[in-house]
């Protein structure tokens, strides 16, 4: 007699936990019932991300690098599961290697993007990159895994916390990634992943007054309305690559802070 497999319940990932949508709704995607987040779930996730941000941003860059590397380790252990949920092993390997690449950049960013400024006066003056805060990310519809990783890794490596609206058509890889993140020492709330209907969730994220940046790289088609909503609190609107890696992708999620101090006795 063959054994009946135990199925997985696909839930949200908020604050390091896996809650159902507060609305109690699901939708069907990739043959599974997937949690259908509500507008309130978006607001809750933003609040959680805001709470997680100071600690994550305050960790040493070395430490954040290790956490990102740990994500790669956890993903490596789930290679076959990931492969079933995206285009295959190549995409999985690319995604894992991307986390490793960004992990190694954590403690290089300040040196690559910062500067010491030779002002014409007796002042010590330097510029350092800092995270923007809470980033709202619209994950690309595809590639299911590499697209998500390409947007999340550069945002968090610099110290931001993110609220992601997962691919509506391919949400399972996102939930699988959430499980890897949950076991990888990423502090709860640094990455929050919401599954659901893009049209319902994206405007809430775009208009939220406690979100500092809106990543529309993965938004298909019309983004004008989202950008108009983003202007309400002067969000940084990010249009980046959906399956690639670069130091400049990190810089899209960073502010630059310049500090002056007199030199004298």
């Amino acid at each position: 007699m063959s054994r009946l497999p135990v199925r997985k319940t696909y839930k949200l990932f908020v604050g390091g936990e896996f809650p159902r949508s507060e609305s109690g709704r699901t939708y069907e995607a990739e043959g599974q019932n997937v949690a259908r987040a509500s507008r309130k779930d978006v607001r809750d996730a933003v609040r959680v991300a805001r709470g997680a941000f100071p600690k994550w941003a305050g960790m040493t860059a070395y430490n954040r690098g290790q956490v990102l590397y740990r994500v790669a380790e956890m993903m490596e252990a789930r290679r076959s599961e990931f492969a079933d949920l995206c285009s295959g092993p190549k995409e999985v390997e690319r995604s894992i290697d991307r986390f490793v690449w960004y992990a190694g950049f954590a403690d290089k960013v300040a040196q690559v993007l910062g500067s010491s400024n030779p002002v014409a006066g007796p002042y010590f003056n330097f510029t350092v990159p800092e995270p923007q805060g809470v980033v709202g990310t619209l994950a690309p519809e595809g590639p299911a895994l590499a697209g998500l990783v390409s947007r999340v890794a550069p945002a968090i490596v610099g110290g931001n916390a993110v609220v992601v609206v997962a691919s509506e058509s391919h949400p399972l890889a996102a939930i699988e990634l959430a499980e890897a993140l949950a076991t990888a020492d990423v502090p709860g709330g640094v990455v929050n992943i919401l599954t659901g209907l893009r049209d319902e969730l994206a405007p809430v994220l775009a208009g939220h007054m406690d979100v500092n940046a809106l990543d529309v790289s993965g938004a298909d088609g019309e983004v004008a309305e989202l950008e108009r909503l983003a202007a309400e609190n002067v969000k940084r609107v990010v249009r980046g690559v959906t399956d690639d890696q670069s130091a400049w992708e990190i810089s899209r999620f960073l502010e630059l802070k310049t500090v002056w101090h007199p030199i004298g006795v």
Binding site: V119, T127, A230, A231, V234, R236, T258, H261
Partner: protein
Amino acid sequence: MTELDRKQDRAPIPAGWEYATAPESREIVTLRERYGHFVGGEWLEPKETYTTIDPSSEEPLAEVGQATDEEVQLAVAAAREAYDNGWSALAGSERAKYLFRIARILQERSREFAVLESLNGGKPIRESRDVDVPLAAAHFFYYAGWADKLEYAFPNRTPKPLGVAGQVIPWNFPLLMLAWKVAPALAAGNTVVLKPAETTPLSALLFCDVLRQAELPPGVVNILTGDGRVGAAIVKSEVDKIAFTGSTEVGKAIQRELAGTAKKLTLELGGKAANVIFDDAALDQAVEGIVNGIYFNQGHVCCAGSRLLVQESIYDDVIEKLKRRLTTLRVGDPLDKNTDVGAINSRQQLEKIEELVESGKEEGAAIYQPPCRLPEKGYWFVPTVFTDVAQSYRIAQEEIFGPVLSVLTFRTPDEAVEKANNTPYGLSAGVCTEKGSRILSMAQRLRAGVIWANTYNRFDPSSPFGGYKESGFGREGGLHGLEPYLSFE
């Protein structure tokens, strides 16, 4: 006053002292009766005009154009043509030499620009002469050097100019803001359509003569004058980039307008900066920083230290020293070399300041203004300090953009950070303490783009400037100030 008296804080209050006037001659400036728009290297006779005045006397200075939509389109077309036919293909080293020329001519004609800037804007000649104009020249000199070195600024990328940049600047530092916008745009290989502020068009119009002397190719820089409608028309026109410095309200409207377009945008918007004074600060030095932070340029500074956060234990001392220092500020003729605080830039701005100050009184704050004789004509406001200010008061939340300081107190560094960051803005902040580790910790925790420690309101072309949060995005100055004018596709 002897040095000993000064040290013992027994200096007399010299409010009643008479100062001899020390006026700078305005002979050096020759104004035309009427100015047009500078388009394609030529003066375009304007279809509509308005009168620009001296805010310290309300005397008319000249007639200037109010650009129509059609004139905006002509300017953008001229900039496009200049971009396509020569400027974008010009070697970076040649662009550099044009910028070096402009810097040199600004230096050579610096006094002329300083006097004009004070005439049209109301700022003290000491400031326009020692700050605005030298910094504007320095900005061109700095970015000149980048024009043929962009590959060093952006390794592993291929920087390319964007095309035509539309630039809209404010009235608080007319020539300096022009330099902040034009220098990096040209260094990166773009051409420019720029609109100076409605109330301060004259230094930008004189700058056109610098361009003529530098023999900059026609159409590389086009200058249109007029009010906000002209700015809106530039935003809607066929430009590739918009750079705006001004109010957060207008900045948001521009961001909304550009939503869904490929136009690149940078915004340098309002601020409500906290200047945090700890009990171990060198108090006299701190008071100088406070004064420079809020009364510099009549407080018409987006990064002004308009919220003073004083540690409770030194509150009485600081307020007393500050009040005494205020009595020594000279308010009056912008062209007088002794003047510390000049004229308010416009009637409209004066009314806004008066309205907010009134709200401060009504909400319950205590007001202090030093005894001060103001000229009978023109727009003036006495340097003002509000104490007993609650965080919720409008004078603690809204940008006043005038010589008005709101004082709040704190007990612990955590409370200082909490209060300082409790605003939608994030342009700048100040911190005064003699403890190095505390400076660095505060500098990390204050959410603002520029932190002045034991100083305030310092600027330099090599030093990136720009805001967090609702103070805008993008940086001006430094290597980082090039990026907004380049594409890397």
